[in-house]
Symmetry: C2
Subunit: 206 residues, 2 copies
DNA sequence: TGATGATTTGAACACTGTCAAGTTTAGTGA
DNA sequence: TCACTAAACTTGACAGTGTTCAAATCATCA
């Protein structure tokens, strides 16, 4: 149970923007040590602030983690959207590449930040039922791209109703299994092939 | 930070089978409180044993959790196999039902024991690479059933190579997303429909 | 019986989350 | 300029945590 000392001395009594500083410092530590193993005291000491300072912004540790989760969900969506800009246009080819890119962005994010991925989907941030996450930004991106696949004639419309559930579940599942070591990394592209086959996405020879 | 007191007085100095007692007691607590939040001291006190007794069998808390993970993986496989006995025979109908049952067993297990599911797939038990989990008991059951689907002519053999990755990923992903509240429970049967469609499993009207 | 080796304990250490009460500060209105 | 106030942060404490290690206990076999 060793911990590195990283006390930071600040000049003013008031920190300025402690709330967001807490979040980003906590993210940094979670990246290194995992979502379990986050220490509020370590976060505080990183910021040169007393251990109880955080309690002015978060009722407890759990809600800080929850806040981080929400932050990460929007960040992932932004990141996905950005990576779709690489393939603009309404052509069948571009649309197919965008579809694949959604999955790859998801995968790359998780591979680069496995501990943040675990935080998002490991039961640390409980979602309020009823709403589910159907209205997530990420989910909307997926919906839109699936619609476009149908629109440009690449995906048959009778398979469209299964689009969201099949794509999200299989990609998410594969990513999870891969980063936990249950499947090799090479499985991911294989899954994308299978998914496109499943959704009837037509292939041209490359 | 409240904890229930459940001290157990035992008669003999030696416990007898402390190792397995530690595991099953820890499982009980994890079911209630989640994999993070497991307290070694609470486990010990439940068994009426000193906090340091566990260290004779496990080098640290992490390896106890790891041991539990391995135990759960085999238990899930046994449970799956058992539930397949409900649909014996080589008929197309029975084989299809078995295939669906694998997914349902997975889902039911996770819904009944979300915290154990989180322990298994939330990064608490790291798998030694290279091996992956390809040689898991659960995986073998899936492989066998997919082969049988082809054998009885229900699934086209050109889709067979995608069987494992598609089935395991999508089922696992859906289960994970559902128990974390990102998808409604009703999504699961929808996913199974989509999966069978994807793998070309023929439907007769029911 | 005595000795040996496997189990378990006790006490200590350095951590942790959390909270009530106190202290500092920035910002207001007079 | 000054007092006042509400917000931001600290102090000090409490209970609970994982972990270590010497000492105590027990079961077993020579």
């Amino acid at each position: 149970m060793f911990m590195s000392v990283a006390k930071v001395v600040r000049n003013s009594y008031h920190h300025g923007n402690l709330k967001s500083a807490l979040i980003s410092s906590a993210i940094k530590l979670i990246r290194k040590n995992g979502p379990y193993n986050l220490s509020l005291r370590e976060v505080s000491s990183e910021l040169g602030v007393s251990p109880s300072a955080a309690y002015h912004y978060f009722p407890d540790k759990e809600s800080l983690v929850h806040g981080i989760g929400e932050y990460l969900f929007t960040e992932l969506a932004v990141l996905t959207e950005k990576s779709l800009e690489k393939f603009p246009g309404k052509s069948a080819r571009a649309t197919k590449l965008r579809f694949r890119e959604i999955g790859r962005a998801y995968f790359n994010w998780a591979r680069k930040e496995p501990n943040l991925f675990r935080l998002m989907f490991g039961g640390f941030c409980s979602i309020d039922r009823e709403k589910s996450h159907i209205d997530d930004a990420s989910f909307k991106i997926l919906e839109k791209t699936l619609d476009e696949l149908v629109a440009c004639g690449v995906m048959p419309s009778n398979l469209r109703p299964f689009g969201e559930i099949m794509a999200w579940s299989s990609v998410h599942g594969a990513v999870n299994l891969i980063i936990e070591g249950h499947l090799p990394e090479s499985s991911f592209e294989e899954l994308l092939d299978g998914l496109e086959l499943a959704l009837g996405v037509k292939h041209e020879r490359s």
